[in-house]
């Protein structure tokens, strides 16, 4: 009655975790669609997300994936087309397919690196250095 692999990443980024995560995903999935998992509100431009007010999102690879997920739920045909993410306290949980394709495994590695590394601090340091 449950599927998916839950990857828990400890982070100090808090509500900014989604911002960091979505920057990474957008590089791989430029046509991504983001949905507030609880309300169902869809954001085509992720910068419109009220990051501090949302705790759970679904990130689809593209609009056709949105339609199919709503009609079918999880299935082999949709493997590697949706990432589910939740923020709680100092944790970011990323849920992917139980047997994710290599592209998604690589994507999760990039997310982990970005969220743990807190790229915002890196940018600030570079500005300070300039």
């Amino acid at each position: 009655m449950i599927d998916g692999k839950d990857i828990v990443i400890r982070t100090g980024a808090g509500a900014q975790s989604f911002d960091l995560l979505l920057r990474v995903v957008r590089r791989r999935w430029p046509a991504m669609v983001v949905e507030d998992a609880v309300s169902g509100k869809v954001f085509r431009d992720y910068t419109e997300l009220p990051f501090s007010a949302i705790e759970e999102i679904l990130i689809y690879r593209d609009q056709p994936a949105v339609v199919k997920w709503q009609r079918l739920g999880a299935c082999d045909e949709l493997r590697g087309t949706m990432i589910h993410a939740l923020v709680s306290g100092n944790e970011l949980t990323v849920v992917v397919d139980g047997d994710p394709p290599a592209e998604v495994v690589d994507l999760v590695d990039s997310i982990r690196h970005a969220v743990r590394g807190d790229i915002f601090n890196i940018v600030i340091s570079l500005r300070d250095a300039a």
Binding site: M1, V38, L58, A74
Partner: protein, 105 residues
């Protein structure tokens, strides 16, 4: 607490006086167990949030109490719980079983 299943699973479990939810090993390296949720049938994105096919949400068992159940690790532990062994629900805890669309709070 709720447990979703398809027609086949529904028939197997509902045929018993005491519901027995059998522990099994889900795909993806998740620990062997019986899994449950607090998400109701009307929940938006139910199948996506549980990451199961929609056809596996057609039927539901609802019961009171959560004895012996633990939240899974991570954010979904807010609404997904599990038992490492088969999980029995005796008649006095049973609240509803049937089509998910017919379940009411």
């Amino acid at each position: 607490m709720l447990h979703y299943t398809d027609t086949g699973g529904y028939k197997a479990i509902s045929s018993q006086v005491t519901w027995l939810f059998r522990a099994s090993t889900p795909p993806g390296g998740r620990r062997r167990g019986a899994y449950f949720t607090t998400l109701k049938p009307t929940t938006r994105n139910l199948a996506a949030r549980l990451r199961i096919p929609r056809e596996k949400t057609t039927h539901v068992f609802a019961f009171c109490g959560n004895e012996g159940l633990r939240p899974i690790e991570g954010g979904r532990g807010q609404y997904i719980f599990w038992s490492s062994n088969d999980y029995a629900v005796e008649a006095h805890r049973q609240e509803f079983h049937g089509l998910s669309e017919e379940h009411h709070d």
